[in-house]
Symmetry: C2
Subunit: 346 residues, 2 copies
DNA sequence: GCAATTTGTGCACGCGGGTGCAAGAACCAA
DNA sequence: TTGGTTCTTGCACCCGCGTGCACAAATTGC
């Protein structure tokens, strides 16, 4: 029996994906390392050998094992994506964009659900055990964690906070400039002639919300010398926003009623719109206008027609890739500028 | 210099996560294999050794490397999740549930975006390269692929179609019984007294939709001896559903107007509701009622109050874990039964 | 046609840890 | 105290591939 036939038999027998470079080498009549070279671009290999190896690989259905490669090179080409809020459709957009763009550049994405508080540090630990090249945080309650988890996070190659600012020095933040964004929104609201704004914010402990709410307050004060009112909800959830807005509006004398509700994101904005319409029986935007943030797909539907602010997710994802590649040009990554999408809600 | 001090120095120097069992062993004064045992439950190790190892590990911040472990055991504890439609919020629910439950049972999830046609087979190939224990397909356009990709998929340990039936013998399907589900919905519609249903379906090439639409048609015919009308859209997108429903209703003489639209899922139902309200100017449910499928979070909001059908995702995810664990009790996995959620839309 | 290059190829060793076995230590009853 | 158990521990070898180097082959120049 020739080596080649033997290799085929072996391959057939171990159908469960146990075809190694050795098998291919045997079939192709070269050494294992030559097989290696055939799959590594920029490697020095003769056309003859390459052809032989490729033919053998096709025949056996060989593909290099990434696990072993990762172990050997200490580079996993893996990024773990920590998500702590699966109720916001915007997460879906970010996931879609990130997975697609990372994939295009050779990285796979490990999706980790950190809904439970303690999950975050466990996830970071896990990320380390899997040797991920970076951990990307898309979420809201990470800022506290990020700090406490930092010590374990030290061991994670790169800690990246995506679409949110982070004051933690151990992390890299890729996000929009909230100042610019809120300035755009505030100017829009002012230009539209609204006079009595209400700001609907998310959790109070988060820096990003502080950024948006406070920027808005500051700008408004600068213009009109009055501090706009605000309400907040403990989580970014339309139902909570609905209830809070309802509660707020119901108790309010008509003359004090806001003429626009500026929301920290679209999820809250939708809750607010629902409250205005179905709880208080008013019209949007005639009685109360509403603005959002994120421009999730639902925002464009006829039921909301929400004026919102779209972040350049694609560009941000590509910035992430740049970081992963290590082509760190030292550019600032927390000053992305998005676009205001003007619709009928305000 | 003692071995212990040396180990510490080494650990300090190679701060980048290069602490191996050897380092710990040196510090603890035992062999590397004893360190191994300390981290493997059910391993035979003395309390003394365990304590020493744990103390040393804590000091050095050692955690076993999963990559190396996967390589050695040929078990990655990794599942790749192939998603081809990031526009449906229901995906978010499934992802949340799957990642959480898989994690709880020791598996990590690789999220793969297969929006592009060719991605599916590439993803399967990649899954194999990463030695995933299983590839889970959550999507709509996999049935054709699954077949063609089967040859490359053979090499993936397990191919699981989640929340959708699959006629491909190489795959395991974990899903609701569409017959039972549609029977429940149909009976509900009949009991409510609707007489002129319209079925709004998704892509025509997919078996699951055939299941739902055809079951509905069959049941309705059995009851009233007339074939209900139906329309369809090429993708599960509210905007498409809106347009198609609008187009359909606009051209229709009032006397032929349906009194209920039964939709293949909530995304389509929302589009239909929007069309009824904002394009045609009718009321839901007074003029036309609507039912959905999936019971996505948005369905319960005051703007839709959608009557829908909730799949037992948690139980289904747990069934997936059972399969992964290999405790295959041979139970049928494509006969899950969900719950009809009755709301005001129908 | 021979030396000087320029490829091309094979190999030892390593990545970090798992497995099964065998030898040593500790324990028990007689 | 001794023979036999049971519990611990160490070790050789393996998982599949990457790296750097040395040697062989092909190419070039004169």
């Amino acid at each position: 029996m020739t080596n080649a036939t033997e290799a085929i038999l072996v391959a057939d027998k171990t159908n469960l994906g146990a075809i190694t470079a050795d098998d291919v080498a045997r079939l192709a009549g070269v050494s294992r390392w030559t097989v290696n070279r055939a799959f590594k671009k920029d490697a020095s290999i003769s056309q003859t050998s390459l052809d032989k190896v490729m033919a053998a690989s096709d025949q056996l259905g060989y593909v290099p094992d990434l696990l072993a490669a990762s172990l050997a090179t200490n580079k996993s080409n893996l990024v773990s994506l920590l998500v702590d809020d699966f109720s916001n459709p915007h997460k879906l957009i970010m996931m879609e964009r990130l997975t697609r763009i990372l994939r295009k550049n050779g990285w796979d994405t490990l999706l980790v659900n950190t809904n439970n508080e303690e999950d975050a540090s466990a996830a970071l630990l896990n990320a380390r055990q899997r040797r991920v090249d970076a951990a990307v945080l898309i979420g809201i309650s990470f800022n506290d964690h990020a700090l406490s988890a930092a010590h374990s996070a030290q061991r994670v190659n790169k800690l990246i906070v995506f679409a949110r600012t982070s004051e933690n020095p151990d992390t890299i933040s890729i996000c929009c400039d909230d100042q610019i964004a809120m300035t755009t929104i505030t100017n829009y609201v002012i230009e539209k002639g609204y006079k009595r704004p209400l700001f609907l914010a998310g959790p109070q402990t988060i820096s990003a919300h502080l950024g948006r709410k406070e920027t808005f307050s500051r700008l408004w004060e600068a213009q009109f010398n009055v501090t706009p009112d605000f309400i907040s909800v403990p989580i970014y959830d339309p139902v909570r926003a609905y209830e809070r807005t309802k509660e707020y509006l119901e108790d309010l004398p008509i003359e004090m009623r806001p003429d626009v509700i500026v929301c920290e994101n679209d999820a809250l904005a939708m809750g607010a719109i629902n409250a205005i319409r179905y709880a208080v029986g008013l019209r949007v935007p005639q009685d109360i206008a509403v603005t959002g943030f994120d421009d999730i797909p639902q925002a464009s539907g006829p039921e909301y027609r929400l004026t919102s602010y779209r972040q350049p997710i694609t560009a941000m994802a590509e910035a992430l890739v740049t970081i992963l590649k290590g082509d760190d040009t030292g550019e600032t990554l927390d000053k992305f500028v998005g676009t205001l999408i003007s619709r009928e809600s305000a």
